[in-house]
């Protein structure tokens, strides 16, 4: 019997959210935790099923495309689903300690809904379904940001406008495509769409909307305040997962629906913006005086890599960079999640997260700083880490296509990342001196430390066992590579 694994990835968190909504009191953390673990387990089973059985299609209620809703699992979806559940479980564990008393019921319901929506984006195989999931994800995120309290309201409002605006552009493209070809299913559309004006316009507005949601420079303006002011576990989800979801939609459109269009100019524009984002975002990160702001700007820079790498990837010989992009998204999700969780733990302990407060207290904050460092190693791209493997693949693509400037920007971004990561790490080593009492450090709930450390191990592990995720990534050929003549994916 076929298990409905793909729908379970959406249904389990959704059911968890519902039950948490019914019991918003003391019990909600335990319900939320149980739903998280169950989702995590199912993600593992899903990846295993893909590994052994190849790509899967699931029709909800037995109605297939073009009428019903279809879920499609390939390698790209699977590794991102696994990443989401890794970050998700860690975030849930962290939240048990982080949300003590206040907002508990709201938080767990909202967070599980957002989780379900993220999984939905990764798995959906039709344009409208993706729209619905993106919208649920966006609105849920707005509410989660607002949970931080009055000071986060501005950022939450701004994020609300941005996410609605992005969805609007995306929906515009969907409408264009639907009016021209009358289908919404990705696979069917990819065989029908031909180069034409409406296809070009649809591509343009959809990429615009999604780039806004993915915070590609210069559409990044909303990200730092939203990600830095949200509660720490929410920041981890926003920076690690939510922005990846909209990027994956770009990848799906790129290789699927718009696979036949000429995108040579567009990719150059995206790559240049990505390159500027890497340098500008990193420099801004180095200049920050608060840890969470630093990590937020680093997200802008890291997202730049995803766009920059599309240039060598779409040239002949540089296909390795597609794998690099997938692996980059994977390891950045885990690393960034760990870094935000660690930054949140430091903030909880000190009462705020400025570097000034940390001076002389590094020893007391050793565990969060270790978690931050491990995530940072992956961001810098030092081995052994997933970030290193990803950069190896990106550089392979860049050098195979002779794009020296791409390689230079990739490595420069790594060095700038070292500058801002070590800005935090040094506090573990500075001698305490006498000016401050070391004892004045608040306790950190153990679940928070444990979650941050556990998640921080993931990007390091990704550097040692890259063979499994990379082979998994190839299943179903999400990047349309290596297809023999005339064979359908």
């Amino acid at each position: 019997m076929e298990l409905p694994l793909a729908s379970a990835m959406v249904m389990i968190p959704l059911a968890g959210a519902l039950i948490c909504g019914l019991f918003p009191g003391e019990k909600s953390p335990w319900i939320g935790m149980a739903a998280s673990l169950l989702t995590f387990f199912c993600a593992g089973v899903l990846a295993y099923a893909l590994w052994t059985g190849g790509p899967m299609t699931e029709s909800l209620g037995g109605w297939g495309a073009p009428l019903g809703i279809e879920l499609y699992v390939d390698g790209l979806a699977a590794i991102l689903i696994v990443m989401t559940s890794l970050v998700g479980v860690a975030t849930s564990l962290y939240s048990v300690g982080y949300f003590k008393g206040h907002y508990r019921g709201f938080y767990w319901s909202l967070w599980l809904v957002v989780w379900a929506a993220i999984n939905g984006v990764f798995l959906s195989s039709d344009l409208f379904n993706i729209y619905v999931c993106l919208e649920v994800m966006g609105l849920g995120s707005v509410a989660l940001i607002a949970l931080a309290g009055p000071h986060a309201l501005r950022a939450a409002m701004r994020y609300l406008l941005v996410t609605l605006c992005g969805s609007f552009f995306y929906l515009l493209g969907v409408a264009l495509l639907y009016s021209r070809w009358g289908v919404l299913d990705l696979q069917i559309l990819s065989t029908m769409v031909e180069p034409s004006l409406s296809a070009d316009v649809a591509l343009g507005v959809m990429i615009l909307g999604l780039a806004l949601k993915t915070a590609l420079l210069p559409l990044h303006f909303w990200l730092p305040s939203a990600h830095a002011n949200a509660p720490a576990p929410v920041s981890a989800v926003l920076s690690g997962l939510v922005v990846k979801a909209s990027f994956v939609v770009i990848l799906r459109l790129w290789h699927g629906v718009f696979g036949t269009l000429d995108k040579d100019d567009l990719v150059v524009v995206l790559a240049i913006l990505g390159a500027i984002a890497i340098v500008w975002g990193s420099v801004q990160a180095v200049r920050q005086t608060r840890i969470k702001m630093l990590v937020a700007y680093s997200t802008i820079a890291q997202l730049g890599y995803l766009f920059l790498a599309m240039l060598p990837a779409s040239r002949e010989g540089g296909e390795a960079a597609w794998h690099g992009i997938g692996y980059f998204a994977l390891s950045h999700g885990c690393a960034k999640g760990a870094m935000f969780l660690a930054a949140g733990a430091i903030a909880v302990s000190l009462g705020q997260d400025t570097f000034d407060e940390m001076r002389g207290r590094g020893l007391k904050l050793a565990l969060p700083i270790i978690a931050f460092t491990l995530g940072g190693i992956s961001l810098i791209g030092l081995p052994p880490s997933g970030g290193y493997i990803a950069k190896w693949l990106l550089l392979t693509g860049a050098s195979a296509t002779g794009m020296v400037w791409v390689a230079a920007v990739i490595q420069l971004g790594g060095l700038l990342a070292a500058a801002y990561v070590f800005k935090v790490v040094v506090y573990a080593f500075i001698s305490p001196g006498e000016e401050r009492e070391v004892e004045s450090v608040g306790p950190i709930p153990w679940t928070m430390t444990a979650a941050a450390l556990a998640l921080a191990v993931a990007p390091i592990a990704l550097g040692l066992i890259a063979i499994f995720p990379l082979e998994l990534l190839d299943i179903g050929l999400p990047f349309g590579l290596g297809l023999p003549e005339g064979v359908e994916p």
Partner: protein, 499 residues
């Protein structure tokens, strides 16, 4: 269980696992820490001895895991890696003993952190030695950068933090350039292992024009750690680290990792004959010559003893590049064997500097008048190592210079001998005044501090480790012709490259 598969991994883990265990010890668990440190060091030496015996009989040990499709993490024990592995194993044991005494004396804080990173650092060095391809080499090379940083900034003072920043800026930039070069090479050739005689010759017709820039990038990336001028500035700054760290940095770990990397690239990636064909041998010789002279001149101008030793390292490590770049069997012996000889001499000198600073509180050269009577064994060791550096027979440094000089004559570049003579004269100019002042000038008492334990001049661990490395300097020179001496081992290695 297949020992030929697991042994190289075991050698690396024998220092890594104790290191990780030490991290979780409390500060006051001194015995457990010492037991882990020494247990690991002796276990490592034992495993190395087994492996050395096997390699001598022609056995090849290889650990191999696939990390990325096509790319394996390889630890492979053949003759050349064993040369570096033995050096790191022996000197780690000695330095650990030294460090235990040293940290007890003055720097008794965060010792668990110190020894933890110390062990990780040595594990990374061993893994660099054993790395069987460039992919693995780069991984461990970067790991070494990370593991060394906490040791450089150990004291946590502003000066140390600044040195750490400079250290990272140089080494990470070097690492970034190295990575681009390595990836580029793999994009052209595909995954490959180190191979005696090199692998790139076959691709010459199609890609020959690309190999020159790639070689220069590799040289830059590795040259940062090997401290070739003008990429050397981090090394003198990093001497704010505790003495055992400086000793390890200068003798085994960081600078040697760079020099060893250059050796591997020249012999096992490009192939010595192909390097010659590309004309890169001349580049190596030119860079080495400039570095040797410049380092010595700068050393002469230093007033702080450890600074002077640091610039002396800059100069001496380039002997290795010089020997490799001359491209001839005899010069190569001189170059590669200096990997060990320089390590023995420099570690002795840094131990001495540490003894002087910890026992008497003296750091500047002008304060060293008359300390020969107060620290007889330390200064005897210092004298031996200095004479070795200058190249006085029958010490280790002489053997190096002999082979380098003969090698230069063999390949028809007699001017190199002039360089060696100038360098020797400069070495004498910056080492001998210290020796003279220590023995023949009046002491200016009282010294800032005076530590004495029992009848010895200072802590026994500090004295005996220093004396033993000095003895190794003598033995490496006197028994250079004996079987299993460093020179003899290198002859085995090179016999297959220069038939």
């Amino acid at each position: 269980m297949n020992p030929t598969f697991w042994l190289p991994l075991a050698v690396v883990l024998s220092s890594m696992v104790p290191g990780l265990l030490i991290f979780i010890l409390r500060e006051d668990q001194v015995r457990a820490r010492t037991a882990l440190n020494l247990g690991g060091a002796f276990l490592k030496l034992g495993l190395i001895a087994v492996m050395l015996f096997g390699v001598y009989r022609g056995q090849v040990y290889e650990t191999r895991f696939e990390v990325m499709p096509g790319f394996d993490l390889v630890l492979e024990a053949t003759a050349l890696p064993m040369f570096f592995v033995v050096l790191s194993g022996v000197l780690w044991l000695i330095t650990t003993i030294y460090a235990i005494g040293y940290l007890d004396l003055d720097h008794a804080w965060r010792r668990s952190r110190f020894f933890g990173f110390f062990s990780v650092c040595v594990s990374a060095t061993t893994a660099i030695a054993l790395a069987g391809n460039l992919f693995s080499f780069v991984i461990f090379y970067e790991l070494l950068t990370l593991a060394t940083y906490p040791l450089v900034v150990h004291s946590g003072t502003d000066e140390a933090m600044r040195a750490g920043k400079i250290y990272l800026a140089y080494t990470l930039t070097g690492g970034a350039i190295l990575m681009v070069a390595v990836v580029w090479l793999h994009a052209i050739v595909g995954p490959f292992d180190f191979q005696e005689g090199g692998v790139l010759m076959d691709y010459d017709e199609e890609y020959g024009w690309l190999f020159v820039p790639i070689f220069l990038m590799l040289l830059t990336g590795l040259g940062v750690k090997a401290a070739i001028v003008p990429l050397h500035s981090w090394l003198p700054t990093a001497m704010v680290a505790p003495a055992p760290v400086s000793a390890l940095l200068h003798a085994v770990a960081v600078v040697k990792a760079g020099a060893y990397g250059i050796i591997r690239v020249v012999y096992d990636v490009f192939g010595i004959h192909y390097v010659d064909q590309l004309g890169m041998g001349h580049v190596l010789v030119a860079v080495a010559t400039v570095t040797i002279i410049y380092g010595s001149l700068k050393a002469l101008a230093q007033e702080n003893l450890k600074q002077r030793l640091a610039f002396s390292t800059v100069s001496q490590v380039s002997y290795i590049m010089l020997g490799v770049g001359l491209i001839g069997p005899i010069a190569s012996i001189g170059g590669i064997v200096h990997l060990v000889h320089q390590g023995l001499m420099k570690i002795t000198l840094f131990f001495c500097a540490g003894n002087i600073a910890e026992t008497l509180g003296l750091k500047n050269i002008s304060d060293l008048n008359g300390i020969g009577r107060r620290l007889p064994l330390t200064m005897a060791a210092f004298t031996i190592a200095s004479l070795g550096m200058i190249g006085v027979p029958p010490l280790a440094g002489f053997v190096t210079k002999w082979y380098l000089g003969m090698g230069a004559l063999e390949v028809g570049q007699p001017w190199v001998i002039v360089v060696l003579m100038i360098s020797g004269a400069l070495n004498a100019a910056y080492f001998l005044p210290i020796v003279y002042a220590a023995y023949f000038k009046e002491a200016v008492k009282p010294w800032p501090r005076d530590v004495r334990e029992g009848r010895l001049e200072t802590r026994p661990t500090l004295v005996w480790t220093t004396v033993s490395t000095a003895l190794l300097v003598v033995m490496a020179g006197v028994f250079a012709a004996a079987p299993l001496s460093p020179v003899a081992w290198i002859e085995i290695v090179l016999a297959r490259i220069y038939p």
